[in-house]
């Protein structure tokens, strides 16, 4: 039924050993050009594809990279990241498989089932999981949301985003600030860190404590938050968790007849396509997601092949895109 290496061997009149050597371009073994060609031709003619299961069983390795996604809402940024990592690793013969883990089934079952050569996590793995995978010979690459003590861990310091937003607003003369936090609990890991960055920046710049309120993606919710922020000494600058939340705030401001940016300045995060279509166009924090993706891909390759140099972490990954909303 299935074409095996034994078929290729028989058809080309060599042993399976030779077939394996040729097909895997085994280093240090010399094969006659004639033999090599014969084997390759036969393999092509018979449509031979090696059984990955057998190979994985025997060598304990595969060319699959398992990318485990935490329980986040997948936005366009994460999409680009995955897309870039996939493309980049594909150039090195690796296939990326993405699993959306909703905390569901133990990670162990999954990597045992896939037997990937590497597992890429966008959050740090549990100590125990990481150890088990390493012990099984699987390369583990993960990322952190904070500055991580391990120099080789990739981190996207969320606090820096909040800080950047505050600095931008302060620069424009705003002193009383509000933070529009996301209502989706799955984003709290990000939100908390960004908020702590906002708080720290306010303290450092001598601004009053920022007013943090959860804002759902409705005009009603944003209006309620806005009313609270405008009471007493009114907040004039709003840092939003992301562009969507920022657009809700913008809609509420419009609804209440506030002028943006005169009465209220708003800054988002992500630079989603729609941000520039808002009225007024939204100032936002842009991330160099491709640079981050490339770093992750290179980190996987370097971990897989010690001869490869470790990539250097991209710096300057955040960057304010100034538009008319601030």
């Amino acid at each position: 039924m299935r074409v095996t290496s034994a078929d290729v061997a028989r058809e080309s009149g060599v042993s399976r050993t030779t077939v394996s050597y040729v097909l895997n371009a085994k280093q240090g073994v010399v094969i006659t050009d004639a033999t090599r060609k014969r084997v390759l031709d036969t393999a092509a003619r018979l449509g031979y594809t090696p059984s990955a299961a057998a190979r994985a069983l025997r060598s304990g390795r595969s060319d699959l990279v398992l990318c485990v996604l935490p329980d986040w809402t997948v936005g366009p940024l994460l999409d680009s990241l995955i897309d870039h990592v996939t493309t980049s690793l594909h150039e090195h013969g690796l296939s990326v498989l993405v699993h959306i883990s909703r905390g569901s089934r133990p990670l162990t079952d999954l990597w045992r089932a896939v037997t990937p050569c590497a597992v890429l996590g966008l959050l740090p793995f549990a100590e125990q999981d990481a150890r088990a995978m390493t012990r099984a010979g699987i390369v583990v690459v993960d990322a952190a949301l904070d500055e991580d003590p391990h120099p080789q861990t990739f981190s996207v310091p969320q606090a820096a985003i909040g800080q950047l937003q505050v600095e931008h607003l302060a620069q424009r003369g705003h002193r009383v600030l509000a933070y529009a936090a996301p209502a989706d609990a799955r984003l709290s890991a990000f939100a908390e860190r960004r908020i702590s960055g906002v708080r720290a920046a306010c303290a450092r710049l001598g601004l009053p404590e920022p007013r943090v309120t959860e804002v759902e993606l409705t005009v009603g919710s944003a209006s309620a938050a806005l009313a609270a922020w405008r009471a007493d000494e009114p907040a004039t600058g709003v840092a939003a968790y992301n562009d969507e939340v920022a657009l809700a705030v913008l809609a509420a401001a419009h609804d209440q007849g506030l002028l943006v940016p005169q009465d209220l300045a708003v800054i988002g995060v992500d630079d989603i396509p729609v941000a520039r279509l808002a009225t007024p166009p939204l100032t936002t924090v842009w991330q160099a997601i491709d640079a981050q993706a490339e770093y992750l891909a290179q980190a996987v390759l370097a971990a897989l092949d010690p001869a490869r140099p470790r990539p250097t972490r991209p710096d300057d990954v955040f960057h304010v895109v100034t538009r008319a909303s601030t």
Copy 2:
């Protein structure tokens, strides 16, 4: 090093056969409760997880479902779809692995490497690929963008979306219509079908030919399109490819001082969160994506287990959400 079924057998004083029977809850074999318990306990204690590679090699099956994504931009809708399918199949012990295929490497290499029990495609597979997978005992489930002749193929008829948009606009009294097509080539498979639905509906309702123009996600691009649409006999209704494009049109209308919906009515597709935050809130076509995802999950399960009833196709998957932009 690694805990194998032989270890479990030795530790619990039975043969590997028995271990396999117990762990796989093999039908038709009777095992003493005491033995069963002993084996299960030992397995748990040793932290045994079967080698999927070995199992796949031996039985040719795994509990992995490979979901192949075409070269689309992954939007929130596709995210929900995948998320739902993953959750749903997970309840049946299956793990979904997503591969973003940028047309890159042959599909063959991938399914051979993963040896999944089923492959789920969101577009029809090439005849040849489908045959090869079926021959290898892999269940193939795919979907189509048109009404498909095969009754078991899942289809999300894109033409119906365009038709629905036109019907909605016509109902509101609009006769001269424009279509805002996406500029991203990766969406053309969808766009062409939606446009043909728009054309067909216009013809059927006796409306003039719709004016189709590509619109990028910038105010400038949308303004240019708008100017063209308003020349001569001005179009008063715009069907946009999706909500993002619709928001660009809305921004251009605002820019040119056109009143929406009085001067110009706009309808999108997708109901992204930001649609309701637009000024005015955007009328759009909503899709029952969860019902579609559930259908796909059930289709996979039914294909895997012939004893399961085939799911019935969800109908009424589209639905206009009327807001103030029309």
